[in-house]
């Protein structure tokens, strides 16, 4: 929620009017981040996230029967939970970004500021991504506790940062698109949540995806499933970093495509009424 409470955007507007500055998005991003973290929403989400990771880590650490490979799988699972929950909260925050402002009646004042709509969506995208980076920072000690004995902490963290950031960018941009086009905040959140479930569901099928070319294609076009598959291949199966790179294509395509569509269409889709007048 970007407001004019502290007058930061107003001040920027006064200083830079009538031309729009290239750094406007940074002002919006700063304000978004401040709202997210100082309103208590961000810390509360992180607290719930850390409780989840703590329970899982403790269960893995007290399991006396866990063998060497299962410990690697435990690190991989922790990383997958961190990525999945991290991108879930990022998606939900971005899905609320425009439709939420619309419903709270704060979008009008934001649109009146001399900040381009492209800068607004870019700022909101960066603001939502701060939640992902914070979730990743919280996951670091858990990955360290589980992975230090099997020497995969560095690999796991690099994988988590790389795969998670690409997925978070793609899903946050998708969430903002849904938010801009949805008639209400409820619709935006419901569609975003459904999208995330649709991305995660195939990986939960008993026995995995069907074997053969169809299952292979299905696995590779699902950005979340293929991103997580890549991390498992490197961490658990010991594959080289380049062997399964094909699995990173769909997360990268989602990130680039969703961000590009969002930025290109921002002037048309960021409106007071979704689908109505500007």
């Amino acid at each position: 929620m970007t407001t004019l409470v502290n007058g930061e955007i107003e001040e920027t507007a006064r200083q830079q009017a009538p031309t729009r500055s290239r750094g406007d998005w940074a002002v919006v991003a700063r304000q978004e981040s401040r709202d997210l973290w100082l309103s208590g929403r961000g810390p509360l989400l992180l607290f719930a996230f850390s409780v989840l990771l703590s329970v899982f880590t403790y269960l893995a650490a007290t399991n006396q029967a866990i063998n060497f490979l299962e410990q690697r799988e435990a690190v991989d699972l922790t990383l997958q939970i961190a990525i999945a929950v991290g991108v879930l909260v990022t998606l939900l925050v971005s899905a609320d970004a425009l439709s939420g402002e619309r419903e709270r009646g704060t979008l009008e004042s934001l649109l009146l500021t001399p900040v381009s709509r492209r800068a607004i969506v870019l700022g909101k995208l960066v603001g939502a991504l701060t939640l992902w980076f914070a979730a990743f920072l919280v996951a670091i000690p858990y990955v360290w506790v589980l992975g230090r004995g099997v020497s995969i902490v560095k690999t796991a963290l690099l994988l988590g940062l790389g795969v998670g950031t690409v997925l978070a960018v793609g899903l946050a941009a998708l969430g903002l698109l849904v938010s801009a086009l949805s008639s209400s905040n409820k619709v935006s959140l419901a569609i975003s949540f459904f999208l995330l479930l649709a991305f995660f569901a195939p990986s939960q099928l008993p026995g995995g995806l069907p074997k053969g070319w169809f299952g292979d294609v299905l696995g590779k076009i699902n950005p979340v499933g293929s991103g997580l598959h890549y991390s498992t291949a490197v961490l658990v199966h010991g594959h080289g970093w380049t062997r399964d790179l094909a699995y990173l294509i769909s997360p990268l395509v989602l990130a680039v495509l969703a961000s590009a569509v969002l930025l290109v269409l921002s002037e048309r889709i960021v409106r007071l009424n979704a689908g109505g007048e500007r």
Binding site: W37, L38, F47, Y58, A60, N63, I66, L69, W144, L146
Partner: protein
């Protein structure tokens, strides 16, 4: 009469089976499988290499062969061979007379305990496939020392401290917001 007929049938059956078994035995006659070392001591998680040699001391070429590595626990530990190696089976070309071929398996010790690791060679020709006999090498005794890398005590500071710190931060931000709203 009935007994005599049974004996006759049994004799006939034996006559048909014996040549087949004899033929199968011929496919592996003179073959021998040996391992390079009798014992290995390692630590859990380490990779070790098991080397074996298959020798055909006969004068004729053997059928194609299958060499399979197996791990048997001597201490009752459950062994999942797939965890130790992703490729326990190797397919070998027919081995010429008086020829030897070297085999190697790179395996990872994923359980602690004492294990016998051995190699079994089976014929896999058009007629000999599935008939055996199987030839086993002498076992390599692998002793894997445990290394407890995960313990509840070690994880406690993290699993308690992180949520406590974040919970305090979340509570602090809520209280701060309430104070601002009250003013």
């Amino acid at each position: 009469m009935r007994t005599r007929l049974s004996v006759a049938f049994a004799a006939l059956a034996a006559l048909t089976v014996i040549p087949a078994a004899h033929a199968a035995a011929q496919q592996t006659d003179g073959l021998e499988v040996t391992v390079d070392q009798p014992r290995i001591t390692t630590v859990i998680g380490d990779r070790i290499t098991i080397r074996a040699h298959v020798t055909n001391s006969g004068s004729t070429a053997s059928d194609p062969l299958i060499a399979h590595l197996n791990v048997a626990s001597l201490t009752g530990t459950y062994v999942d061979l797939e965890d130790w190696t992703a490729a326990p089976t190797q397919h070998l070309e027919p081995l010429g007379g008086h020829a030897t071929t070297a085999l190697a398996w790179d395996i990872q010790a994923v359980n602690a305990g004492r294990f016998d690791v051995y190699v079994v060679v089976l014929p896999n020709g058009p007629t000999s496939s599935g008939t055996g006999p199987a030839m086993a090498s002498s076992p390599v005794e692998v002793t894997v020392a445990g290394k407890r890398t995960l313990n509840a005590g070690g994880s406690l500071p993290v699993v308690i401290a992180v949520p406590l710190l974040l919970g305090a931060a979340a509570l602090g931000s809520r209280l701060r917001l309430r104070r601002i709203r009250a003013h």
